[in-house]
């Protein structure tokens, strides 16, 4: 299945970048401003801000109401089960990341969790591993590239996917194309399955971010800049594998909003 993101968003992003132009580089006689400009590493800031506004509009009209309805309509155990299943389905991506980063301890945890949660945990609905204190963690190709020494590259905001960087976006693409679930044959049932999985991931992620997003919108004088900074910090934290135990497995990078995904409220 060709992902929606690659088919439509990719070209749209490029066109927007070209249309909106680039951020102005500060003059060379202001070294502090120049350093800040480099640290932000957001050469397409005007275009990114435009896309951020597009995303805000879509989010307020569609995504946020859906996420709120999802929380209101489904009881917590059901949402917990869905989040656990989605996390379990991300095993191939996480395990690949563990192995490519040469982290055998984490790879063993990921594999053990998958086996136990898929069987005793009834197809991943129950996170049995957590009860034995083997907590899930996030891993994705963006993180692996970072561990291999690839710099994060410029910042980019993609509507519906959220904040990302050149490196994380490439990693996200690799994750999609190497996911076994998008490789095993084709057919209508598989398509429906994949769209359901992607759709549920979006709703589940947005539901987890209801409070953090409210908070940013309410308290930030510049939500775009706040999100940009929070995303980078959160990614650095994930790359160093220092997530605190207890959080559920966050969706693979690219879609990460720079926030940890917790147990449902």
């Amino acid at each position: 299945m060709k992902p929606f993101a690659a088919r439509i968003l990719g070209p749209a992003v490029l066109v927007l970048l070209l249309l909106a132009g680039c951020a102005t580089r500060p003059p060379a006689d202001d070294p502090e401003a120049l350093q800040e400009f480099r640290e932000n590493n957001d050469p397409f800031e005007p275009a990114n801000r435009a896309m951020f506004e597009v995303n805000e509009a879509i989010d307020k009209a569609v995504l946020q109401p859906i996420a709120e309805a999802y929380r209101d309509l489904l009881p917590k155990p059901v949402r917990s089960g869905i989040r656990n299943v989605l996390g379990n389905l991300r095993t191939p991506t996480i395990l690949t990341g563990d192995l490519l980063q040469g982290n055998l301890t984490r790879a063993r945890e990921t594999l053990g969790r998958f086996i136990v949660n898929s069987t005793i945990g009834i197809g991943g609905i129950v996170d049995v591993g957590r009860r034995y204190d083997v907590h899930g963690h996030s891993e994705d190709m963006g993180q692996t590239l970072a561990v291999w020494g690839v710099g994060e590259g410029f910042y980019i905001f993609v509507p519906l996917l959220g904040p990302s960087t050149a490196r994380d976006l490439v990693g996200f693409g690799i994750d999609i194309y190497t996911n076994p679930q998008s490789m095993i044959g084709q057919g209508q049932i598989l398509d429906v399955w994949n769209y359901t999985r992607i759709g549920m991931t979006v709703v589940d992620t947005r539901e987890a971010l209801l409070e953090p997003f409210d908070m940013v919108r309410k308290t930030s004088l510049d939500p775009y800049a706040t999100l940009r900074s929070a995303y980078r910090q959160r990614r650095a934290f994930e790359i160093q594998n220092t997530e605190s135990p207890g959080g559920a497995v966050a969706p693979a990078g690219g879609v990460g909003f720079g926030q940890g995904v917790m147990e449902p409220k």
């Binding site: 800040e36 020494g149 940009r228 900074s229 650095a236 994930e238 997530e243 917790m262």
Partner: protein, 210 residues
């Protein structure tokens, strides 16, 4: 290797930030920092869960505890960053006053809602020569628990909180980006940040109903 590079870069960034201000912070003793966070945290939890206080009283109590626990001036200066020197003395004075009000209002509104909150110390670790990072676990009824790390520095002989870090995201770094963006987008005028801060305080006050 990359992990080492990454942490070194983070460290360097931290030092660069500190270097631009007078070195008021002395080295921080980890057990002293932990005891300080524990005391401030227990005081906060007691105030938040006190059944005799109404919402306004609770907020006031929380605000007064926060005022003694946080190094508001130092944090405010850190967040304003290089614009500290570009601001006029009057602007800087206004900024620190507005920053004090915003941070206290935001934090006490947030903590004030945490009825039934429980707080416990997590693993502690010394981070740099300058300050200590104390990790805590926040638990609320019917809510997922989360960790909060408190960066504590020795300010004029007293331990004070200089940053709060939630799941890897530092409040002072995020706020520094936010404020810098506001100034940059208004032709580098510090006064425009002050206007935006005044607007935000008015909004916060309207939401709190007073």
């Amino acid at each position: 290797m990359a992990r080492v590079l990454m942490s070194r870069r983070l460290l360097l960034t931290g030092f660069a930030g500190l270097a631009s201000f007078p070195a008021r912070a002395q080295s921080m003793d980890i057990s002293r920092a932990t005891a300080f966070v524990n005391k401030a945290g227990q005081d906060l939890v007691t105030a938040i869960n006190d059944p005799r206080l109404n919402l306004t009283q609770r907020r006031d109590k929380v605000a007064s505890i926060l005022r003694t626990a946080i190094d508001i001036e130092g944090t405010g200066r850190f967040i304003l960053g290089r614009y500290v020197r570009q601001a006029s003395p009057a602007e800087l004075q206004d900024y620190l006053k507005l920053f004090d009000e915003i941070i206290i209002r935001n934090l006490s509104a947030r903590f004030g809602e945490y009825r039934g909150v429980k707080f416990s110390l997590g693993r502690s670790q010394q981070r740099t020569e300058e300050d200590a990072l104390v990790s805590t676990l926040i638990e609320r009824p019917n809510s997922p628990s989360f960790t909060l790390d408190w960066r504590v520095a020795e300010i004029n002989g007293q331990p004070r909180v200089v940053d709060v870090i939630a799941e890897g995201t530092s409040l002072r770094l995020t706020t520094r980006s936010e404020y810098a963006a506001v100034i940059q987008r208004n032709n580098g005028r510090v006064a425009s940040l002050l206007d935006a801060m005044r607007g935000q305080i008015a909004q916060l006050a309207a939401r709190e109903g007073g």
